[in-house]
Amino acid sequence: MNRLLIILLALSYTSVFAYSGEGHINLGDKASELEDEGKSRDIHPSLSEIRKMHPEFLLHKRDKTLRQGVRTKRDSLKACVNCHSTSKDGEYIPVNAPDQFCSTCHQKVGVSLDCFSCHRTTPQEDL
């Protein structure tokens, strides 16, 4: 019984802290700042949830925004891009460019998305 309990606790411990040490290789400017300040969990309480569920969140939000006029920041693509864009030499790099925040994982798992043929790929405000 004790052994089982230890195994169970060890598993839950690793699943909770599995991602905390290993950061995304290119988190983006504002997101890195927030992480340094320890505030990133206020935005994404569960990292595994946002990693797995973000397509559903975005899909749900897009219909709410477009068809019902709900323009909250939570789950909006605009807010994703705002935090997860990286700047270089005083300019933002498009978030869907190779090795940027969106494309690192999408390249790896081999999905190609069509968000950014219409949506803006950098934050609106210039540096």
């Binding site: 206020d42 309480p45 477009l66 019902q68 323009r71 219409c118 949506h119 803006r120």
Partner: protein, 242 residues
């Protein structure tokens, strides 16, 4: 370890810790989700009243420029002639008997019974509860039936790859687009860019149903028309002085 943990104790302790985590988690979600979250309702109907007599030629040009600036269209380099998008344009109408020429701004009229919505095969062309007619570009397949159906020639098709779009106005190749009544501004309590570009009372924007709104009161007082009123579309954009 001397003390054996029995089943009952184990369940007790896990329940307590789960309840603790749940309380904290619900606190987090409450703070992050509690923002203004109200869908639009049919208690409002957005509309616009354009008074031709108060608009000069340059006022109409300003309206067109303001729309381009706000929504980021008009810089397409590869599109030619009729391919170029025009969300709002200046048109001239001539009275054949007297030869009197009026210029007026023409954009999506935000009909209550929109023909573009009737013909759309994918439900991309749609009308919001508050009367704003939009294209859901996620669903648009670019068939352009709506462009054929629109009596006002208000819609455009994007013929080329675009980049650097406005943050609030996604636009892309292969989809149809038109005036959105600057819905991104209206949802935040603002007015459309074209209405803002005109000083004075040449263009009045507001809620047609609200008896206290300026547009409602003005429409009660003065003579106004809907363009192609014979089609019974009940447009949201009204004109006076034609």
């Amino acid at each position: 370890m001397s003390k054996k943990l029995n089943r009952r104790d184990f369940i007790k302790s896990t329940t307590a810790s789960t309840a603790g985590v749940a309380t904290i988690a619900s606190g987090i979600s409450l703070t992050t989700f509690a923002v203004n979250d109200n869908p639009v309702t049919k208690e409002k109907r957005w509309g616009m009243l354009v008074d031709i007599n108060q608009l000069s030629e340059s006022d109409i040009d300003n309206m067109v420029n303001a729309c381009q600036e706000e929504n980021g269209w008009g810089n397409e380099t590869h599109s030619t002639g009729h391919q170029k998008p025009s969300w709002i344009k200046k048109i001239k109408v001539k009275d054949r008997a007297t030869g009197k020429i009026d210029s007026l701004p023409m954009m999506c009229q935000h009909c209550e019974q929109p023909p573009c919505v009737d013909v759309c095969p994918t439900n991309a062309s749609m009308r919001r509860e508050d009367g704003v007619v939009l294209v859901d570009k996620h669903l648009c397949i670019g068939c352009r039936y709506c462009m054929m159906a629109c009596p006002y020639d208000a819609r455009s098709f994007v013929h080329e790859n675009l980049s650097n779009q406005k943050e609030h106005m996604p636009r892309g190749k292969g989809t149809v687009e038109s005036c959105t009544l600057c819905v991104h501004r209206v949802d935040k309590g603002g007015v459309p860019a074209c209405a803002e570009a005109v000083s004075g009372e040449g263009v009045i924007f507001g809620d047609l149903y609200d008896a206290d709104s300026k547009i409602n009161q003005t429409l009660k007082k003065i003579q106004s028309t809907q363009i192609r009123a014979d089609l019974n579309l009940n447009t949201g954009v009204r004109y006076s002085g034609i």
